[in-house]
């Protein structure tokens, strides 16, 4: 226990702070838990707690071809987005962290700006472009659209990681005769492995959970899981939605776990070396 110098002790203020913060955390977490519990209901009503527990809605989900197809489409689009975003974003993050070139700050600003541009605006612009190229309703169009959102995340995470790593180790590799690419591949990349894992996981989640672009650009031909969920919430609100949502939460937890494990591994290795 190392109480920080500015802690206000365990007085009433501190207790009040804990009560308040716990309430905020409950506000954040409770809805997610409720959906998960309700998904094990046996009835068509959203009962809490369930009167009879069952896996009925998971069964419905598995048997539905529509849900299965939507799931597979989302899965492979998200995997392709992850690959593309890493392929383009990791070198870009490196360039922004190490490079000294004209307009670097401006480029950095432009490259991360899709993070704050309203997605509906991006969707509109891309719709016009893709309509001309015949990419509406095509998974390839979705892939590129989602990559626009995932790329800045990769650049920010990986760029920040490269900035934390001493450029001296790359220099040393070069001095020992490694080519630029060799030094990048065998020295720079392994030194930011946890960041690569988080960037990949978050790029995947960004695409897998994305709705607005999928609604605009998916058309009738490419229905991703979120698009299918959106339509179900809007038009039917059937209980298998709670089962899909639970699976989505499970996927998020899995991704966060992967990120956490990557980071824990890295810090263990650092401790071993020192």
């Amino acid at each position: 226990m190392h109480p920080k110098g500015w802690q206000i002790g365990m007085g009433w203020g501190r207790i009040g702070l804990w009560v308040f913060s716990s309430a905020v955390i409950i506000f954040l977490i409770a809805p997610i838990l409720v959906v998960m519990i309700v998904s094990f209901n046996d009835t068509t009503l959203f009962e809490l707690p369930p009167v009879r527990w069952s896996l009925r809605w998971y069964g419905t989900l598995l048997q539905s071809r529509e849900w299965r197809e939507a799931f597979w489409l989302s899965l492979w689009v998200a995997a392709a987005v992850t690959a593309l975003a890493l392929l383009l974003g990791v070198p870009a993050g490196y360039a922004l962290a190490r490079g000294q070139f004209f307009g670097r700050r401006l480029l950095e600003f432009v490259l991360v700006s899709p993070m704050v541009v309203p997605v509906i605006v991006l969707a509109l612009g891309l719709y016009a472009l893709f309509a001309r190229l015949g990419l509406i309703g095509r998974p390839a169009g979705l892939l590129m659209a989602h990559a626009v959102l995932a790329l800045p995340i990769v650049i920010v995470i990986v760029g920040a990681a490269f900035r934390r790593v001493d450029a001296g180790i790359e220099l040393a590799a070069r001095a020992c005769g490694a080519s630029f690419l060799r030094a990048f591949w065998s020295v720079s990349l392994p030194s930011v492995r946890p960041a690569l894992i988080s960037a990949g996981a978050f790029a995947f989640l960004t695409s897998f959970d994305e709705v607005v672009l999928a609604l605009f650009l998916g058309g009738p031909g490419a229905t991703t899981l979120p698009k299918r969920i959106w339509e179900a919430i809007k038009f039917e609100l059937d209980p298998s939605l709670t089962a899909v949502s639970t699976l989505l939460v499970g996927l998020t937890l899995a991704a966060l776990l992967v990120v956490e494990l990557g980071r824990a591994n890295a810090s263990r290795e650092t401790h071993k070396e020192s």
């Binding site: 500015w6 955390i25 991006l122 472009l129 990559a147 001296g168 220099l171 809007k234 989505l248 939460v249």
Partner: protein, 304 residues
């Protein structure tokens, strides 16, 4: 430690032994590695955005016109959407700040184990599908939702309370989605704050409250500003939550854009609305950058 020092020396020696025109070869190359991302975003992001802006000012005959801009500025129906959007964004930002600051403060001062727990409570919702969370609010707060069923069964109310499909529903959903964007930047700034400063204030006789208000709070303002700017920017462009939890009267600019395209097929006007949204976001961003610098706004703080 020694080994690292030796190779670094080696590196410098190697560097200084290079011919003059090839002075910084390890720096010449990194720049070129950005090309892939630049070309991709140039084609799939900048080009469509610029085309959209062009449409906002082009007339059917191919000339330049301000007709769309005039329409936007003069017709009352659109003013209502702007008022709704900004009112919702301001309330969301204020509520997020009020709920988020104390939580961020506790996270920064709690023991490592408690911090991990609190952090999980912020990060898990942050990355959970917005759709799953909207569905959760519908199940909880809908007319036949869990909370209304409980209230009716307990006899506290005689008719279900209208939580959803009005501005209250939008507000609840937006705060839920955007709260982590407030907590994380504040937390990041508080974590880097020099603990010696508030301790010094305490040891010089300041009460805990005074040490907080006069030392900790001013020093954490950059985090608060970053959080507010981020939440506000995201709130004015938000589409999903208002569309799922709002009612017919909660038309925001984002939902207006969708309606103009889908029902009226009026692309030039939708482009003008988009442009107004981008200008709004850009203004908020510039304002934040002016206050605390671009670095803090676009930084990776708390994101990893």
């Amino acid at each position: 430690m020694d080994g690292a020092e030796i190779v670094r020396q080696l590196g410098w020696t190697w560097q200084s032994s290079l011919p003059e025109q090839d002075h910084k070869p390890w720096r010449a190359r990194p720049g070129t590695m950005i090309l892939g991302a630049v070309l991709f975003l140039g084609a799939v992001y900048l080009l469509p955005m610029l085309t959209l802006i062009g449409w906002a000012f082009s007339d059917p005959k191919g000339g330049i016109t301000l007709a769309q801009a005039t329409r936007l500025l003069t017709e009352g129906a659109y003013h209502t959407a702007f008022v709704t959007t900004f009112r919702t964004a301001i309330i969301t930002t204020l509520v997020c700040a009020l709920l988020g600051y104390p939580l961020a403060f506790l996270m920064a001062t709690a023991s490592p184990r408690a911090r991990t727990l609190l952090m999980a409570g912020v990060i898990i919702p942050f990355w959970t599908s917005v759709l799953a969370r909207s569905l959760a609010w519908i199940i909880l707060l809908g007319k036949r939702g869990i909370i209304n069923e409980w209230l009716l069964a307990s006899g506290l109310v005689s008719a279900p309370l209208p939580f959803l499909f009005n501005s209250l529903g939008v507000q609840i959903g937006m705060v839920h989605v955007l709260l982590p964007f407030m907590v994380l930047p504040i937390w990041a700034v508080l974590m880097r704050l020099d603990q010696a400063l508030p301790s010094a204030a305490r040891s010089l006789g300041a009460s805990p409250a005074r040490a907080f208000i006069q030392v900790v709070l001013p020093l954490s303002l950059p985090g608060l500003v970053a959080g507010c700017v981020l939440v506000f920017m995201l709130a004015i462009g938000f589409y999903i939550t208002p569309a799922l939890l709002g009612g017919d009267r909660d038309i925001t600019i984002a939902s207006l854009i969708e309606m103009v395209v889908r029902d009226l097929l009026d692309w030039p006007f939708a482009a003008m609305l988009s442009l107004s949204l981008m200008v709004s976001v850009g203004t908020v961003f510039a304002f934040g950058a002016l206050l605390i610098g671009v670095e803090r706004l676009t930084g990776a703080e708390g994101r990893t």
